[in-house]
Symmetry: C2
Subunit: 218 residues, 2 copies
Amino acid sequence: MARTAGSNGTRTLESIRKAGLRLIYRQGYEAMSLRQLASEVGIQAGSLYNHISTKQDLLFDLIRVHMEELIDRLDKTLEGVAGPSDKLDAFIRFHVEYHIARKREVFISYSELRSLEPKNYDAIVELRARYERRLIAVLDDGVAAGVFATADTTVAAFGILAMLTGVCTWFKPGGRMTKDEVIAVYTGLVRDGLARDADKPKAISPPPPPPAGGAPGA
Amino acid sequence: MARTAGSNGTRTLESIRKAGLRLIYRQGYEAMSLRQLASEVGIQAGSLYNHISTKQDLLFDLIRVHMEELIDRLDKTLEGVAGPSDKLDAFIRFHVEYHIARKREVFISYSELRSLEPKNYDAIVELRARYERRLIAVLDDGVAAGVFATADTTVAAFGILAMLTGVCTWFKPGGRMTKDEVIAVYTGLVRDGLARDADKPKAISPPPPPPAGGAPGA
DNA sequence: TTTAAATACGAACATACGTTTTTATCTTGC
DNA sequence: GCAAGATAAAAACGTATGTTCGTATTTAAA
């Protein structure tokens, strides 16, 4: 045979990305074979190459697009919010909601970092750092304004991010808690953890060169 | 050739486990070939099978031993500590120290869950849940004693665990902060996050069947 | 000292992999 | 309606994979 009736490049690529995301999430990048991916899309393995350049490029693209959208949406969310406290609340809500909604993208963006070739790896780590810097900036503002207290805004930011991101490993919609309840608990934890009160240790050492992204590899 | 002079089963197995841990951490389970593993150990691929039964079994064993030791050590650590506040502090210190010391085991125990066959997967998830229950119990005690306040001890425990575990993705010994400083920051965040004060929401719904472990798969 | 078990080599197995190439058909723009 | 480009099939490529097997040598037990 040859070209199938009704075939359409844009639609097929979308199918590939969707199936790829699902399979990589479920099995891992290395464990997903292109034949399996092709079969999910309903085409032959070789035909994938009419839409992607390599398997590695598919992975990189999935992660990159996700990270860029994450940053874009955060920026739009924080745009209209003023003051460190409200910004922190907005950040928490945004982060949790996005991570619940895109748990697969989030998971592979973290766990498949080590499957990225060095150049691609570096690009993603840079995007991740950019996102992290948004939260650090909010914390810094809050500390400067005297509404937050923490010994180290960078470490606090990493701690908060890890905590919030963890939600997408266990949250199930329709489960015991609603999304809003989860957000409420986390907001409480973070707010109080940063609450300013009398005898908190102040900065224990001069401000940071931020640590890399998060992955082992390389 | 045949058996090498000076060869020793116990020592070789130890080499295999050590090299396996390193390679799986760096490249992932699927990406580590047995030939590569064997070469690191200094033997031929086929000879691995004098020491392990399958590749899968090596992975399972690495993770299982790690989880069991984690739980054992935690229990020994908490044994001599009385009162929820001190227990929480001890937990935080133990968890962070252990996770810094064993960052490779920790990482693969999380990220390679999906590479485990169902039976092995279930066993690890159960071990993980057992560990989580230790922290939940401390929080429950604290809430009962009126020294902690949180809307949901299970969610709080997951949040705290995710935050603390996150440390091993960025902490570098000899870096800007010492281990003790990191522990201090995290202890502060958690303590204040759980601090009891007037207008905290109390439990928002009846107590939990705890969510699974953490992995996507299956 | 003899013997059995442990350990490693080296070759082989079947299978699976990512990717390329060729060819045929369909779709689209003129 | 025709030409050009897009899309898919099908087969093949070389290589790599986890695992098994037979054999040789060393170690440890009797």
